[in-house]
């Protein structure tokens, strides 16, 4: 199975009468695009903005990010989700690089985050380094409960993916500037066999919140084995759970850094065998069953080693260490990839569960670091959401720090809120160090 990703560098984005991509400039017809991205009419007051790295802009609450793509052979870029369920991970797909579709709402929930396009917070996430075509929207109907209003982002998720496909269509008939090729070629037999154990968000017991595999909600799924190319090619759609800092969204799948780095070593120091999609469950018994399934698949693949990620934090630390411990017990060497939460003073136990068998850990950052950020000239979304909606990383009152939002528009938050700052996907250029 050979996947080719044809890259087109997007130099700038602008609005215009026709949606086109010419000489690196993406022009978007706003009205036409808006009419296509809201098929269920669950969103209202939809508008677009364009933001670029270095601009004095704060975006919040940020919901989702997707890279625009196009498949010349006519297959959907997110099979089973927006389009028919067809195999993916092979053939040619075109990708717009240096930009993304980013969605901002009005109400913040536990899965949302914030992106600054300049200033200290822009150093903390790759998202600040991309140009964005921003969808700004609100929920059209009052939801049936406070819970739904706070957290149900499925209409935002759909809009983001539909717009990515719409924009991507401008690449039709064009020639990519460069092509990346992904193929698991035969290697020398004595190289150690390695897989990526990709923990996904699957523990929300109802539709519309978990990761989607070929468009299907993963809530009742057992761990399964997939080809890395399927993930690079739209088989997985990001979840709508857990805080902004610990996301694993569609953009992370399309550009997954762990997969790309394992490919780099494939045939040199390792044999990259595949990706085990691992679940994260609510009940202990299910957690154990899932880790056992991961180990069974690993044994069938005759693995020597695995990189194990975490998705989120809190009770999913159990799933993370379950996989690590049971793989190590089976003689399969592991490296874990996770953020930590050592508290504001940095002195608390950094994860809710820890096991010394996790003796090789890479830490993407601390989600509990307090940061003070200056006011921004432009806010896209709703700044009040910081103190009204209580998403992780922001607060209405705090005995030591006061409210997250101050009268002059400056803010004090913790790193939970920085969208993609820990990089459960492997982007993070940060770690934690003992002081």
């Amino acid at each position: 199975m050979k996947l080719e990703i044809g890259n087109f560098n997007v130099k700038d984005i602008q609005f215009g009468p026709q949606t086109t991509f010419v000489d690196g400039i993406l022009t978007v017809n706003k009205e036409e695009a808006i009419s296509l991205l809201n098929p269920e009419k669950k969103l209202k007051n939809i508008d677009f903005k364009i933001v670029r790295p270095g601009e004095n802009v704060r975006l919040l609450p940020v919901k989702d990010i997707v890279e625009p793509r196009f498949r010349p052979d006519g297959r959907s870029i997110f099979p089973g989700y927006i389009g028919l369920s067809e195999p993916c991970g092979d053939g040619m797909v075109y990708a717009m690089k240096g930009m993304a579709i980013l969605t901002v709402g009005k109400y913040g929930g536990w899965m949302d985050g914030m992106v600054d396009m300049s200033g200290p917070a822009s150093e903390l996430t790759y998202v600040s380094k991309l140009k964005h075509l921003v969808i700004v929207a609100e929920d059209a109907h009052p939801f049936d409960s406070e819970f739904e209003k706070r957290v149900n982002d499925s209409a935002f998720r759909l809009a983001t993916h539909l717009l990515a496909a719409y924009v991507g269509k401008t690449l039709k008939g064009q020639t990519p500037e460069s092509v990346e090729t992904y193929e698991l070629e035969e290697t020398a037999a004595d190289l150690p066999k390695v897989a990526y154990v990709l923990h996904l968000m699957t523990n929300q017991g109802r539709d519309g919140y978990n990761h989607l595999l070929y468009g299907r909600d993963m809530m009742l799924m057992n761990p399964t084995l997939v080809h890395p190319n399927e993930i690079l090619d739209g088989a997985l759609v990001g979840d709508l759970l857990s805080c902004g800092s610990a996301k694993l969204i569609t953009y992370d799948m399309q550009n997954n850094p762990v997969i790309k780095n394992l490919y780099q070593e494939h045939g040199k120091t390792i044999q990259f065998v595949g990706v085990i999609l691992a679940t994260q469950e609510a009940n202990v018994d299910d957690k154990n069953m899932d880790a056992n399934r991961v180990v069974q698949i690993a044994k069938l693949c005759k693995l020597d080693g695995a990189i194990v990620n975490i998705k989120g934090s809190g009770n999913v630390n159990v799933d993370f260490f379950n996989s690590i411990c049971k793989l190590e017990d089976a003689g399969i060497k592991t490296v874990g990839l996770a953020p930590v939460n050592p508290g504001r003073d940095g002195m608390s136990q950094p994860m809710s569960v820890m096991d010394p068998k996790g003796d090789a850990l890479v830490i993407g950052g601390s989600s509990t670091q307090i940061i003070e950020l200056p006011a921004m000239e432009t806010v896209i979304g709703d700044l009040e959401s910081l103190v009204r909606d209580h998403y992780p990383g922001a607060w209405a009152i705090d005995p030591e720090h006061g409210p997250s939002l101050r009268e002059d528009g400056s803010i004090i938050v913790d790193t939970h809120i920085i969208f993609e700052q820990d990089g459960c996907a492997g982007w993070s250029d940060k770690t934690v160090v003992e002081f």
Binding site: W110, S145, F147, P192, V194, G205, R206, C243, V258, N261, L262, E265, T269, I270, I307, S313, G314, K333, V335, L337, V340, N341, P342, G343, R344, D345, G346, M347, S348, P350, M354, A360, L361, V362, I363, G364, G365, S366, S367, T368, Q369, H390, Y391, P392, W395, I397, D414, T415, H416, G423, G426, W427, S428, D429, K430, T431, V432, V433, E434, F435
Partner: protein
């Protein structure tokens, strides 16, 4: 010019050896002994005074020694305090820790000492101050003094430190986020670490995990019919108006709510603010998180003695361990006072 004060024992303070170990605290102007070497490398700072105290005096008359030193330091301005280096000298190391801790807590300035890893002062005081990793005898005096000077210069200049290992001091148990060397992405680091681990080559984990402490399970209660029973939750159950503004995550506060009757504890009157689980079921019926209804029934059936009429509630979602321990202590104090004999603690 920044001002530095140095603490030495009787030996390095050039008063005398073990026979002078009972020497009471004294102060002299300018640097003495190791202070001379430190002074030559200090940038824009000078050691204005040196405190000298016998090891036995400090060790056996600690309070008196601190009081005397406090008196000697009265009216003396300082930006930074140094003690030692103390090498493997046990009493001296502990004394450096004692006086550094006192100065830090009263003057709120940075304090630095230096000793060998096996010096008992390290384990006693490493969480309270910068203790540089020093040699085991005075042969390393020059090196140790240089380390102290280097860190002193950084702290006085307000320079950002790079962490305990990089700066050469014993970790204080404070984890902070920093950029990785050359901003290498975590995925790359993970793959490189795995390749090394598979090849049996040395690698360095970014978080060391030690076997944690386990809290022993208390013996079972044999007769519940005489027990006053209390309910505590970290499931974020609060009255719908959330009067104490309990946050949805990272809580630092807890609330105390009336549950003296089953009728008070129903959907519409109570809800959850916890942002880590689907709250719709708990909003509809808070008893699914805190079984107030069942406990009331068991009380009327005589199975449980009585119910403590208040629910203690907070959010466990991303709540800092230290804050959790503090809140638990505050709750326990009230429960003990009310003579509660058993607590049912529910999460989510």
């Amino acid at each position: 010019m920044k001002k530095v004060v140095l603490y030495l024992n009787q030996f390095f303070g050039q008063i005398g050896g073990e026979t002078e170990a009972d020497y009471p605290p004294s102060i002299s102007e300018g640097p003495v002994g190791p202070g001379l070497a430190i002074q030559t490398k200090l940038k824009d700072a000078q050691i204005t005074h040196t405190i000298i105290c016998g090891d036995n005096f400090m060790n056996t008359h600690t309070e008196e020694a601190i009081e005397k030193i406090a008196g000697l330091l009265e009216g003396i301005e300082m930006d930074l305090f140094l003690a030692g280096p103390a090498f493997m000298a046990g009493r001296y190391g502990v004394n450096c820790g004692v006086i550094c801790k006192y100065v830090r807590e009263t003057r709120h300035i940075p304090v630095i000492t230096c000793m060998y890893e096996e010096n008992p002062g390290v384990d006693m005081y490493k969480k309270d101050m910068y203790i540089l990793k020093g040699g085991d005898s005075a042969r390393t005096m020059r090196k140790d003094a240089a380390k102290m000077t280097e860190l002193a210069n950084k702290l006085l200049a307000g320079e950002e430190l790079r962490g305990a290992d990089a700066e050469g001091y014993f970790g204080r148990g404070i984890l902070k986020q920093v950029f990785y060397e050359e901003k290498k992405p975590s995925a790359r680091r993970a793959v490189e670490m795995l390749v090394k681990k598979l090849a049996g080559e040395p690698y360095q984990t970014e978080l060391k995990i030690e076997q944690g402490e386990r809290v022993p399970i208390t013996p079972a209660i044999t007769d519940m019919s005489k027990i006053k029973f209390a309910l505590v939750t970290s499931g974020g159950i609060v009255p719908v108006e959330n009067p104490d503004r309990i946050p949805s995550a990272s809580a630092t506060a807890w609330g105390k709510y009336d549950i003296s009757s089953k009728d008070l504890f129903v959907g519409g009157k109570f809800k959850t603010v916890h942002a880590g689980y689907d709250p719709s079921y708990a909003d509809a019926n808070p008893n699914v998180v805190v079984p107030v209804d069942v406990v009331h029934d068991m009380v009327s059936q005589g199975k449980i003695g009585s119910l403590y009429p208040y629910l203690f509630s907070t959010t466990g979602n991303h709540t800092n361990g230290k804050e959790a321990v503090r809140m638990a202590r505050e709750m326990a104090e009230q429960l003990l006072e009310a003579k509660v004999g058993a607590v049912l603690y529910t999460s989510t």
